[in-house]
Subunit: 364 residues, 2 copies
């Protein structure tokens, strides 16, 4: 096990701001990037956290592949809708502004939808869905992404992991937050099995012939093989995960006129990635009193938590519950980063002349 170093949120935020402003990002936009990245680490989604600061964002700006000014342009707008061009800027910046717009529109319109094209990777989908909670709204956040997943009966990576995030407020209970890739698992999970030389479960991925495999080394999207959609093979309804990945494309790239499927780029190539997003806010008060909605949510969660448990299991977990508990702990004890990520942050900082000098507040 790698040692876990813990940092104060404000120290990490300072570093992100110094790093990003050095690259030409405004103070305010750098803070938005920091918020999204640190939110991922605090919630235990380290794959989407600080470790991506250099590799996904900083390096692209340094090379001139991503516009640090994020020239946000509204193409069409109505009291409840908008289409935005992200100007090949920071996905987090355009997405934060888009979701704020969606929330403001929903305050008067009851419901709103905003679609974004020509953006970049926006971090964890759940961040933007969660923004709606504070306003007593339901938030939806979708994005397409670089191809890693095969369609049912295909054998190459054509679909992104195209996540779906929906957040809904509750009363005494943790809010509901679904934040899921429409693939069975992430590629990172398969790489970990590969490093450990262990077999993967059937249903995670296919080899270069499109046959299901338990050999993680046979799954290298872009080279050979691919991840499978949620549901796995056809017999276990993988075509539903495939269909959900397309639902995300319909609302992101089709509605915005952005890049789709294999035309969406990854962080390592010079051309714009052309990522598309979709945001929706639903003002609960337009339907029924928020306090009643929250009571209903608590009752629904109570019913689930009190349902009979499978032999050998401890409890039924609601979407987001584990992450909210983890976040509570980390808010108290510091943002956890494994040592290799901290080492990378040091290197990222050195490259642009911004030393990573955040003090460790605890080591686990």
């Amino acid at each position: 096990m790698e040692p876990i170093l813990r940092f104060q949120r404000s120290d990490l935020m300072d570093f992100v701001i110094r790093y990003m402003t050095k690259l030409g990002v405004s103070q305010e936009d750098a803070k938005t990037v920091g918020r999204v990245l640190i939110c991922a680490d605090i919630r235990g989604v380290e794959s989407h956290g600080m470790q991506r600061l250099g590799s996904y964002y900083g390096s692209r700006i340094s090379k001139g592949w991503l516009d640090p000014k994020t020239p946000f342009k509204i193409i069409t707008e109505s009291p409840s809708t908008a289409l935005i061009d992200g100007g090949n800027g920071l996905g987090q910046v355009v997405s934060y502004k888009a979701m704020r717009m969606a929330i403001n529109k929903a305050k008067t319109a009851g419901i709103s939808a905003i679609t974004v094209k020509n953006s970049n990777h926006y971090g964890i989908a759940g961040f933007y869905a969660l923004m709606a909670l504070k306003e007593g709204m339901i938030g939806l956040s979708l994005t397409n992404s670089q191809p890693l997943v095969a369609p049912t009966f295909g054998k190459t990576a054509v679909l992104g992991t195209n996540p779906i995030a929906l957040a809904a407020p509750s009363g005494k209970r943790h809010p509901y937050l679904l934040d899921m890739a429409t693939s069975a698992v992430s590629y990172g999970k398969i790489q970990i099995y590969d490093k450990k030389h262990e077999h993967i479960p059937i249903g995670w991925g296919i080899d270069e012939e499109g046959q299901v495999t338990n050999e993680p080394s046979k799954i290298k999207p872009g080279g050979h093989g691919a991840l499978l959609p949620l549901g796995g093979m056809e017999v276990t309804a993988g075509y539903k995960g495939f269909g959900l990945a397309l639902l995300v494309e319909v609302l992101c790239s089709m509605l915005s006129g952005g890049n789709f499927l294999t035309n969406v780029g990854g962080p390592g190539r010079p051309e714009p990635t052309g990522v598309s997003h979709f945001f929706m806010a639903i003002n609960i008060e337009a339907f029924r009193p928020l306090v009643d909605f929250k009571d209903s949510m608590d009752s629904m969660i109570d019913l689930l938590k009190n349902s009979p448990i499978a032999t050998g299991r401890d409890e039924i977990l609601i979407a987001g519950e584990k992450e909210f508990e983890y976040a509570k702990y980390n808010e108290k004890h510091g943002v956890p980063l494994i040592k290799p990520i901290v080492d990378d942050l040091r290197k990222d900082g050195e490259k642009v002349g911004v030393p990573f000098d955040c003090p460790v507040v605890r080591e686990d």
Copy 2:
């Protein structure tokens, strides 16, 4: 194989109208029910078609358990939202009217959402999503349903199969229509394996201890065991299917204040089922020209259809494609019903004094 009898759509419609009006349903509402039922059989979803006329709808009306007048009541309304009480009437009738309202609102508002409580089973979710296509819109249709599915780490049926249907128009290609239960499979599929004394694949369901099983007889939701959510067990991400089932509850029952989870009834019990629905229409023209959207859809579908095929497979199928092809064939050759369903329709008709006298136009 059971023989397949084919009928003219108009003959079946006449029978549904005579049957339903005899039970006190208006001519117009009876036609709506007929449209939804026949749409299912034409598209090859026979489980949700004519076979349910008596068992799900007629018998409940006869017993006084479902109000044939469907007293539709708007509780709150705005230019883009509405909350409707279905008055324990016919799910198809209130849903058809609700989706029409959603489409009309989206014409001016760009996007609209309508939630319905105190309704009943509404047939195939896709029917209402498809209504939006004719208006150049994206349609979304969700419903909760009687408990058949266990939450991850649970061992009893707490969740409905809670389907998600999204339709989007295309140009030369068939439209995209995702119409999927959020369970791995339907209960009907497991019952067929049980009848044939065959094992089911791992990932479809669990026994009374909450352990995955390949014995279909061990899965009798309500008695013992349950279906699994899309994704199957935890290791293949069944918690995502569980999360999607709750996404449907959030937008249907939480937003409407309707029944949820185990409080949703099945067709065989006297108390109101209290089913909740959610409908959304997105006016594509509010974002970009419809003709451009349709071009993008064709390009996306072309890209998928032309992707490399897995060894041993024939083609990549887009959500809804098979059903659109099937419907084309059936529109020409007659609505297919297997003989046992026709026998049931005869009995249903006899019970209320409306003979089923539709002539068979072809037998396969």
